[in-house]
Subunit: 97 residues, 2 copies
Amino acid sequence: MIDNPEILGLFAGFLTAFSTLPQTLKIIYSKKGEDLSGVTLFMLNGSYFLWLVYGIALNLLSVILWNVIALFFGTTLIILKLFVWTNNRPPKNISVP
Amino acid sequence: MIDNPEILGLFAGFLTAFSTLPQTLKIIYSKKGEDLSGVTLFMLNGSYFLWLVYGIALNLLSVILWNVIALFFGTTLIILKLFVWTNNRPPKNISVP
């Protein structure tokens, strides 16, 4: 049915690797990340790290490559989230009708 | 160095599968998800779906299992995010000092 599953794997890996990029850009532009779950971000980064070690152990180049990229964006995101972590107040220029 | 990489893979898959669960619980309790990137959620779910098809194509039981679980939580989360999507106003009981 599917001629070449590895093409699928490459595409899936690409999505995995870049999935936290839009969220990273969003938090940079909005400077707000309180709705984000820190636990989820730690679990995502933990999974990227374990997949990376798995890829190194089994010498799987695409697993290594995608998870290095994923870890880069994921780590950036969690650092940004922790920086704006305490931002629980309404922003100063809020207008309440 | 690593005796059994498949143990690592199982653990990594577990983290991947359950990574969106804390975020799902958080959005349920806070009823707020405007800081979440819809694009990121679509990319995550897209990757789970492609990994699932990949696992079916290559008959990889653990890939199938983890990604079915991941899709379940990921889909739940994106539905919740879309339901509270327009919630861009401050909540009614906000207290501004």
